[in-house]
Symmetry: C2
Subunit: 312 residues, 2 copies
């Protein structure tokens, strides 16, 4: 592991915490986070990348520690004025957070790639790790629900995941290309490990895995590949994961998640209470996977890196 | 005057105060402000209309009473975050003010006219008067300075009017059209008066007057036309007006301003100390034209409306 690089695939809050723990454990410049962009959308003319921003703020130590997303010590004057002026109030945009969206939107309009914009923001804010959107191409998670199809943020934020989810699709995924930076990171001979963060497998990881070439690249890796369970004690740590699994007729278990990653990971970290299962080709490793606080992140990062050493 | 409508032509702070005083004196629905858009520009991807916003906030009783522009009780989290993320810091965008720019930018991108967007904002914020951009077409004030040409906001804000101004031009003016709403307001048979606010004649009024048809429409009005002096005691009340007049080799006097409006106004209101001149076709009326506070605005509005009655 000395000097080796680590990739973490992640979505929002849980992924950001995992990335933060790994970045702190590895030290500057060794972590590359490949982040879901299926949640990205345009709102009041601004291009919002919720997962990239959550990871950006967390790695830069700027995240709201209570919510897990958005910025700490945030103010909300914009939202109040937007609502008073007749604008939409269902998606919260903090005053500080807005700076990110405004700069991103303007740079995209100038023709800059999301990857380059994200790198500049990460540098400016002191993220201390590489942040790569999984693709620079359009990719939008669409939710097929019992109330009909709806864009991801309509389902996730506006409707608070209340409609039953029947299916997910990733518009644009077939034509999307891994960015050159993502391809290079996955082909890096110094790559020591790939970690799939305990993000939602269906909402956060599947959009990344839907990009042509991503699965094959992960399958072809020589280094250990590790996933961390987002299910603890048959419950989701956060968000709608358990509800979605139940709506899909899947058991709300760590095993369901491990099977979802079959062929993509060698090691699966699960809580001791959930670790009593086996999946072909995957070593299930029991450990405390809860990241309740910064100490929890650090502990899970050490567990993951130790598992890499064991598997190497 | 009973039930008659009044048009005020205006730029930013001084114009907004005049508009506010007239709107309060006339009561709801009788004032139409036709506002300069030569200062409008795009900054960090957002379409900013400084004069429209100053008039909007002032009419809606939301303006910062100290600065005269921007919003009262404003917060500045966005600017701090923008600078920290590497964005430009020279143009101040308050958190509440941003809501206006974001909504405007998004609506323009959807193809809506600035006039319609402005009307919706004025309605939402309770402006109590009509706000009309002078045109919906591109119109940009360009400053020819001793340091070369520069866009208006570069001269006005970034460089704080320090370069010597050699000439002004209004890009797009030749092709710009008065909006249908402006044309209708000027042709309204109930129009009782047109007031040229004590805004900067060269920076704020000339861009409006440069739109083809505007001068002829004003020249053809049957109702009294009144201008208010922005010069008091041979000094500009605010801003770079005196500096610009001196750089143009013009006397810093109310008379210079009155001559600038020759043929366009019947009455010119000037401070008693400045009123000792005559211009053919213009009745110079001496009165206190300072708007130091809300009472001053109200007093000046009554002076202007009284002068209309005298001239009718």
């Amino acid at each position: 592991m000395s000097g080796g690089r680590v990739i973490v695939l992640c979505g929002g809050v849980g992924g950001a915490r995992m990335a933060g723990g790994l970045a702190a454990a590895l030290g500057p410049g060794r972590l590359t986070a490949i982040v879901n962009v299926g949640d990205d959308f345009t709102h009041v003319g601004l291009r919002i990348s919720p997962d990239l921003d959550t990871v950006l703020y967390t790695l830069s130590n700027l995240e709201d520690p209570a919510k897990g997303w958005g910025r700490r010590d945030e103010t909300w004057s914009f939202m109040a004025a937007l609502a008073a002026a007749g604008g939409p109030a269902w998606f919260q945009l903090g005053d500080k957070d807005l700076a990110t969206h405004v700069l991103r939107t303007e740079a995209l309009a100038r023709g800059e790639r999301l990857t380059a914009i994200t790198a500049r923001l990460a540098e400016a804010l002191g993220a201390g790790a590489r942040l790569l959107p999984a693709t620079d191409d359009p990719l939008a998670t669409l939710c097929e629900t019992d109330e009909g199809p709806m864009p991801f943020q309509d389902y996730f934020v506006r409707r608070r995941c209340e409609p039953a989810l029947r299916a997910l699709s990733f518009a644009g995924a077939d034509a999307a290309r891994l960015s050159p930076e993502v391809e290079a990171a996955l082909a890096d001979p110094d790559l020591a490990a790939l970690v799939i963060a305990p993000s939602n497998p269906y909402l956060s990881l599947d959009p990344i895995l839907a990009i042509p070439g991503m699965r094959a690249a992960i399958e072809g890796l020589k280094c250990p590949r590790i996933a961390v369970s987002p299910i603890i004690g048959n419950k989701a740590v956060k968000g709608p994961l358990a509800k979605i699994m139940a709506e899909r007729g899947l058991g709300v278990t760590a095993e369901t998640v491990a099977r979802h990653y079959e062929g993509l990971v060698d090691v699966f970290l699960a809580d001791p209470a959930d670790a009593g299962f086996s999946v072909p080709g995957i070593a299930v490793h029991a450990c405390d996977v809860m990241m309740a606080d910064r100490a929890g992140r650090a502990r899970l990062a050490r567990e993951a890196l130790a598992a890499v050493m064991v598997a190497s």
